[in-house]
Amino acid sequence: MIKVEGVSKRYPGHTAVDNISFEVEKGQVVGFLGPNGAGKTTTMRILTCFMPPSSGTASVGGFDVMEQPMEVKRRIGYLPETPPLYPEMEVAEYLTFVGKLKGMGGNSLRKRVDEVSEKCNVADVRNKLVSKLSKGYKQRVGLAQAIIHNPEVLILDEPTSGLDPKQILETRDLIKGLAGDHTIILSTHILPEVEQICERVVIISRGKVVATDSMENLTNRMRGSEVIGLTVEGQPESGIVQEKLERVAGVSRVILKLAQDSTCAFEIESLQGRNVRADLARAVVEAGWNLTELRPVSMSLEEVFLQLTASEVSA
């Protein structure tokens, strides 16, 4: 559905997007993840024909953004970082205006305005001025605006930024609800959001794609070896405990996290594919100490992300 090949965007003095390529299948929800200033917005603007790439090609639904921008624009619903609202319009009036811009009209537009107002939970404010709306409502009107012409592709630039937690949840639910009918690209720097909504993730840092994969694969790939948190009581000498743990088969590294009175906590890394938890527990108990905690420390997307973008920095 969306194909980006070797796209770069250069400005005098710096490169915002550097030779990125990725593809999005029809009906997928893809998270566009990266720190601020990574080039997410620039990439989205290239896809929406707001600006052309310096080099490379991008196409939406088989239409090139440079050659057939009108066809691309017809197929895309776009919510920029700040929703493009006219404060002096009423909500329904605004949605009608956008509908007309997208080439709709007459009865079908009127029906569609009611439909999207309902879908995006803005029906109760349809006769209110946009300037009087709360931020959450504005964001939802922005979403309604993006889907008014029932586009095949939805491009959402940080759809939850600046909202309060309740509004964030509502917006996420809304996006999840839209997922079936549209191909969605959404950018964010909030990681749990991607974990919740997206099937695939494209991680971008300093204008480059550093990883693109399904959510599952990505966390698995990055996890590599398992990390276990372990706390022991009853042995004031942490060195002895550490030595004992290191001797357990399959353990690659033991890191002392905390040693206080007779309590010490460790983080234990095991070799790939080895489950050492049972052995660790036995070792501790056999030594006569109390095992008070034993838990897997899973690697969150947050860590994956930091690891990926950090390695980019050091490279």
Binding site: M70, K73, Y78, P80, T82, M89, K100, L101
Partner: protein, 254 residues
């Protein structure tokens, strides 16, 4: 065509739901009312002199309507930057320009729609002059034809300044800057023919030709000269063309 209409509608509406339209209409009504009153006052004063055997033939068209219309041009000079300054600058600042550009409409449709919206606003303001002039028709019988051509001339001249203002508004996010620059350019174009007062080389002639006032003169006398019409229409076209190109360039530069 539909798209132009959509944009035009939105523009006209946005003038009239905000205080801009009412403020401009009020300012214009007061100032042009005062100017008309003064013109009529002078005329009355002179007509008393004429009865006493001084002065030449009295003509309402020549002594009242023409000066009033020239003054309308001067007031427009101040009002037009206020009409055009928000056209693009506001959309750029608030980010709504992204909606327009990523919608399946062409750049020239956006520009034309906006310019027509501004022209409509300007025409509404101009029409207030008719109220002032109608008094003359109530108590006298001046020739209506020079009045009609003057209005046409004013609309064309306004159209020129509006298209220039449109272009300037598209070059900045800052409304005040857009307004100030438009005012400066308008004032210069208004006074270019002052050159001919003391210079007569080619430059003076070129600048005098570019002067908006010298092309308005014939209209105010009831003459529609094709060379003036062509001048105004080509300035309008140039302004709109430049606006369209700068809207395009926004994408390459931003």
């Amino acid at each position: 065509m539909n798209n132009i209409l959509t944009i035009w509608q939105k523009e006209v509406k946005s003038y009239f739901v905000s205080p801009i339209a009412y403020a401009l209409l009020t300012i214009y009504a007061v100032v042009s009312g005062f100017f008309s009153y003064v013109a009529v006052g002078y005329f009355l004063d002179r007509s008393i002199g004429a009865q006493a055997g001084r002065g030449g033939p009295m003509d309402v068209n020549e002594w009242v309507i023409r000066p009033v219309m020239m003054n309308v041009g001067v007031i427009s000079l101040f009002l037009i930057p206020m009409i055009t300054m928000r056209l693009f600058a506001e959309e750029k600042r608030s980010g709504t320009i992204e909606l327009l550009i990523t919608s399946p409409i062409r750049d020239y449709e956006i520009v034309l729609g906006k310019w027509l919206g501004a022209l409509t606003m300007y025409a509404c303001i101009l029409s207030l002059t008719l109220v002032n002039l109608s008094v003359l028709f109530l108590f006298g019988s001046p020739d209506w034809r020079p009045v009609a051509t003057s209005f046409l001339g004013m609309l064309l001249q306004g159209g020129c300044l509006l298209s220039i203002g449109c272009f300037i508004s598209n070059t900045t996010k800052n409304q005040i800057l857009a307004g100030a620059a438009t005012f400066g350019v308008s004032l210069l174009m208004w006074t270019f023919d002052w050159f001919t007062g003391f210079k007569s080389d080619v430059w003076a002639k070129v600048l005098a030709y570019l002067s908006l006032t010298s092309h308005f003169e014939p209209f105010s006398k009831g003459v529609i000269d094709s060379k003036d019409v062509i001048f105004y229409v080509s300035v309008i076209a140039l302004g709109l063309f430049l606006t369209t190109r700068s809207l395009e360039s926004l994408r390459w530069r931003s």
